[in-house]
């Protein structure tokens, strides 16, 4: 298991390097540069600006310098649009914000989604099952870009209970709406997956055997049925969690959280090469890390998977 984990970690390095090279050249191919502006800079000023940011060097030199600075100094370079900040600054300020509401959103998804799915499966075709189905439909009708404005209209404008946006150091009042708006649709999906998985597991022969042996329903559910029933949920939550903690552009912009999702879209518009690259690296590393964690959890739950990981 340890050697499997190490192999997976080492494999990340060449993949990230390839990703850097692809992103680097893709950005350079896009028309318009970081200093293209409505008021074109005089040639002499433009030359100085390019020199300041090392953009006057040949592309291969720029690429090598970039990789070298990351590997040896963990320096992702300066931001071209935020003149007194580096990419490290942007990430270190924005990522904790995104991580915070992403984490609470994931907690919201799991804490509500799994029990709801369990209840729906156990009370199959009952009131609670219909509630769960209704919630799933609700989340389809009200995706976060509809739900968020509705929540603000109700909780901020009509009832004055919560601030309409901002972060303010991460006080709980500011975290609730971004976390809920981000998580609602996933919560419904988790409930649906849990319900489906549990219904299937509960009809499996080994559960019938357990019942025949006289094991209490509670023990059957918790010890024998729930773990395998949650495998689809775990598969689903891996990429979802990456999405949550790397920031939703919509949530960041709508709630003005200051999270890194907004940086990505802004960087694309301003051609802030170093910010785009820095975030792409962060996203890819997080994706690999979380995929690995999901695989390890899978192995922990399912002995068949565990034996295949050696």
């Amino acid at each position: 298991m340890l050697s499997y984990t190490l192999r997976r970690l080492i494999a990340v390095v060449p993949i990230v390097l390839i990703l850097i090279v692809i992103c680097f050249f893709l950005m350079r191919l896009a028309p318009g540069g970081p200093f293209t502006s409505e008021r074109p800079l005089p040639p002499a000023v433009m030359k100085n600006v390019l020199e300041r940011y090392g953009l006057d060097e040949p592309l291969y030199v720029q690429l090598w310098t970039y990789i070298k600075n990351i590997v040896f100094y963990f320096d992702f370079g300066p931001s071209f649009s935020q003149k007194d900040r580096t990419v490290n600054d942007l990430i270190s300020q924005g990522f904790p914000v995104t991580l915070t509401y992403g984490f609470f959103s994931a907690v919201f998804v799991l804490v509500l989604g799994i029990p709801l799915g369990v209840v729906a499966a156990l009370r199959h075709n009952s009131f609670w099952d219909y509630v769960m189905t209704g919630l799933a439909i609700f989340s389809q009708i009200f995706p976060n870009f509809v739900l968020a404005p509705l929540m603000v209209l109700l909780f901020t404008l009509a009832w004055g209970l919560l601030p309409g946006g901002g972060w303010n150091g991460g006080q709980w009042q500011y975290v609730i709406m971004p976390a809920v708006a981000l998580g609602t649709s996933y919560m419904a999906s988790v409930a649906r997956l849990t319900r489906g998985g549990l219904l299937e597991t509960l009809s499996a022969p080994y559960i019938r055997t357990a019942r025949a042996k006289g094991l209490p329903e509670r023990t059957i559910l918790i010890r024998h049925a729930l773990k395998p029933a949650l495998l689809p949920v775990i598969s689903y939550m891996g990429p979802v969690f990456v999405y949550m903690i790397t920031g939703s552009v919509f949530i960041d912009i709508f709630f003005s959280t200051g999270g890194i999702g907004q940086n990505f879209i802004d960087a694309a518009y301003t051609r802030d090469y170093s910010v785009i690259l820095g975030l792409a690296i962060l996203y890819s590393v997080l994706t690999f890390a979380l995929t690995l964690i999901v695989d390890l959890i899978y192995a922990w739950i399912d002995p068949k998977v565990r034996s295949g990981l050696k």
């Binding site: 028309p31 318009g32 540069g33 200093f35 293209t36 502006s37 409505e38 008021r39 074109p40 800079l41 005089p42 002499a44 000023v45 030359k47 100085n48 600006v49 020199e51 300041r52 300066p78 649009s81 935020q82 003149k83 007194d84 900040r85 600054d89 942007l90 300020q93 924005g94 914000v97 404005p149 603000v152 209209l153 901020t156 404008l157 004055g160 601030p163 309409g164 946006g165 901002g166 972060w167 303010n168 960041d252 912009i253 709508f254 709630f255 003005s256 959280t257 200051g258 999270g259 907004q262 940086n263 802004d266 518009y269 301003t270 051609r271």
Partner: protein, 539 residues
């Protein structure tokens, strides 16, 4: 000796600005609110708080609070004392001497001296700093400025010096009658050498920054908020009322309006198209004021369609656009129909009598059809079609659709629309990869040349690539003329005759401002606000 005497006599006092304390002008008997916190919305994060590096309008607003230049602007856009109390100018308009107040201090207690301005101005033109507004310093015509920016001279050669701690002398390379108006710009603000040298690029972080403005930065959370509080070292802190100013970055303008309605903001922008409704609902809070900006369509005269070379075609297209429909029915934000390039609100500018401005739209349409027929294009003539380029924006798209429909119906001209992302659009427009494109310009200073210079033959912003020797001559003459009105009038007349660009409208600023906030400079067409001039009254 003779020369020396003449020079001494030539120094004439041209400006003695009122020395009244320009800060919040609170009428007697006003009951101020207990909480003097002003919170407003920013569309995006500021590019920098460094006066010599900041390049966005919102960022410049914050920098005006954190630093103070030689002059400020008052509520009407006129110069008001800042660190300088007055200035003299030599008879040849080539040397400006500013007298600085001796009670100005930096937020760390150091005195603000002329040396701080010398340092800042040399810094602004230093190639290593690569200031995006170095071109502005070039525009100020400071002696050797252009050469230093181009790397052909040393920053030490810049024509600015401190003859003592409180006297700043500026030598120009050519006379510039409106030079003093240009020193209210943030690029010209002083900079604290010791703080910059101690902290490098990080000197503008809240924990490091040293400013000489009415406020100091205490908090800056990227993409979320920045907070500034009163600077107790500011020379006029006693007359400053607002205690705290909070700028919140809110990217979604409708969400910003919701938060404004919920009482979280004192000021926000009006979402496009909502001004009339908001004005009806909240008449005391919805505001539209003239802005120093124009909006126009630019022909590509260098490599555009052959038909554009015919002035009758250009005139016909200009005449057929019903600007009132665009302003009153499409934009609905208090904009002003434009028939000439320079906004009427520009200081010292007299709007010339442009013939087609005085016609009714039906007269313009008839004339347009006549001109187009004469040129042999459109209905009954050779088909005319071209592409109109604009950048992604709902209002740009609406203006384009309406204008092209007018051309289609009235003149039989087929126009296809092309929408590009901002940077792609800029690159293509700048490289003349278009046939007709939208254009807009906001004045950097309040004088007509900030607009008309765009149409000089060698201007980098002349996207039409129009070459007109007479326009160049008139604009050059205006640089040293004491009466620019006849010169600018002639330029505008030439533009109306030749029509290298089609003026469409002049901007207005639309905003929502809480009724208890007073002192916002609604009459300042550059919208240069200073928090020190504002205050909140008790509700």
């Amino acid at each position: 000796m003779m020369k020396k005497t003449t020079f001494a006599l030539a120094l004439t006092l041209t400006t003695a600005l009122s020395t009244q304390a320009f800060a919040a002008d609170v009428p007697a008997g006003t009951q101020l609110a207990d909480d003097q916190t002003y919170t407003y919305r920013l569309l995006d994060e500021s590019s920098s708080f460094d006066p010599q590096l900041v390049e966005d309008t919102d960022g410049s607003g914050i920098v005006r609070d954190l630093f103070e230049g030689l002059y400020n602007q008052d509520g009407n856009g006129k110069l008001a004392p800042g660190v300088a109390l007055s200035h003299t100018v030599s008879a040849d308009n080539m040397t400006y001497t500013f007298t600085l107040r001796n009670d100005a201090k930096w937020s760390d207690g150091n005195p603000v001296t002329a040396h701080d301005f010398v340092y800042a101005w040399k810094r602004a033109v230093t190639p290593e700093l690569a200031s995006p507004y170095a071109w502005y310093m070039e525009l100020m015509s400071i002696k050797n400025g252009a050469e230093i920016i181009a790397g052909n001279a040393q920053p030490e050669d810049l024509g600015v010096s401190a003859s003592d701690d409180y006297t700043l002398v500026v030598e120009l390379s050519q006379p510039l009658p409106y030079f003093a108006d240009m020193v209210a710009h943030s690029t010209t603000f002083p900079a604290p050498k010791w703080a910059i040298e101690a902290h490098g690029d990080k000197w503008t972080l809240p924990e490091n920054i040293v400013g000489n403005g009415a406020y100091k930065l205490t908090e800056h959370v990227l993409k979320e908020r920045s907070t500034r509080v009163r600077n107790e070292m500011y020379w006029n802190n006693e007359n400053t009322v607002l205690d705290t100013v909070v700028a919140l970055v809110i990217g979604d303008e409708n969400q910003a309006l919701t938060r404004y309605r919920a009482g979280e903001l004192d000021k926000t922008d009006t979402p496009a198209g909502q001004y009339p409704t908001l004005k009806a609902e909240l008449p005391d809070e919805a505001i539209a004021v003239p802005r120093l900006c124009n909006y126009y369509f630019s022909f590509n005269l260098a490599s555009g369609p052959e038909a554009f070379q015919d002035v009758r075609v250009r005139q016909a297209l200009a005449l057929a656009v019903d600007r009132n429909v665009i302003v009153d029915q499409v934009l609905q934000g208090g904009q002003f129909p434009a028939y000439n390039f320079t906004p009427a609100a520009t200081a010292g500018f007299e709007s010339p009598e442009i013939a087609y401005a005085g016609m009714s739209q039906s007269e313009r349409d008839a004339k347009a059809m006549e001109l187009m027929a004469e040129a042999g294009y459109g209905k009954g003539g050779e088909p005319l079609s071209f592409t109109y380029l604009y950048n992604t924006s709902e209002s740009h798209q609406q203006v384009a659709i309406v204008a092209t429909q007018m051309w289609k119906q009235k003149l039989g001209v087929d126009v296809s629309l092309e929408n590009q992302e901002w940077k792609v659009f800029l690159e293509n427009r700048g490289a003349q990869n278009f046939e007709m494109a939208r254009g807009a310009w906001c004045g950097d200073y309040n004088e007509a040349s900030t607009f008309l210079d765009l149409l000089q033959s060698d201007s980098g912003y002349n996207d039409a690539k129009d070459n007109n020797a007479r326009v160049d001559e008139l604009l050059a003459e205006a640089k040293s003329s004491s009466d620019t009105t006849p010169l600018y009038t002639e330029v505008e007349q030439i533009l109306a005759d030749e029509m290298p660009v089609i003026p469409i409208y002049h901007y207005s600023a639309n905003m929502m401002l809480k009724a208890d906030v007073k002192g916002w400079p609604v009459n300042n067409v550059q919208q240069k606000y200073y928090s020190k001039d504002m205050y909140k009254v008790a509700k």
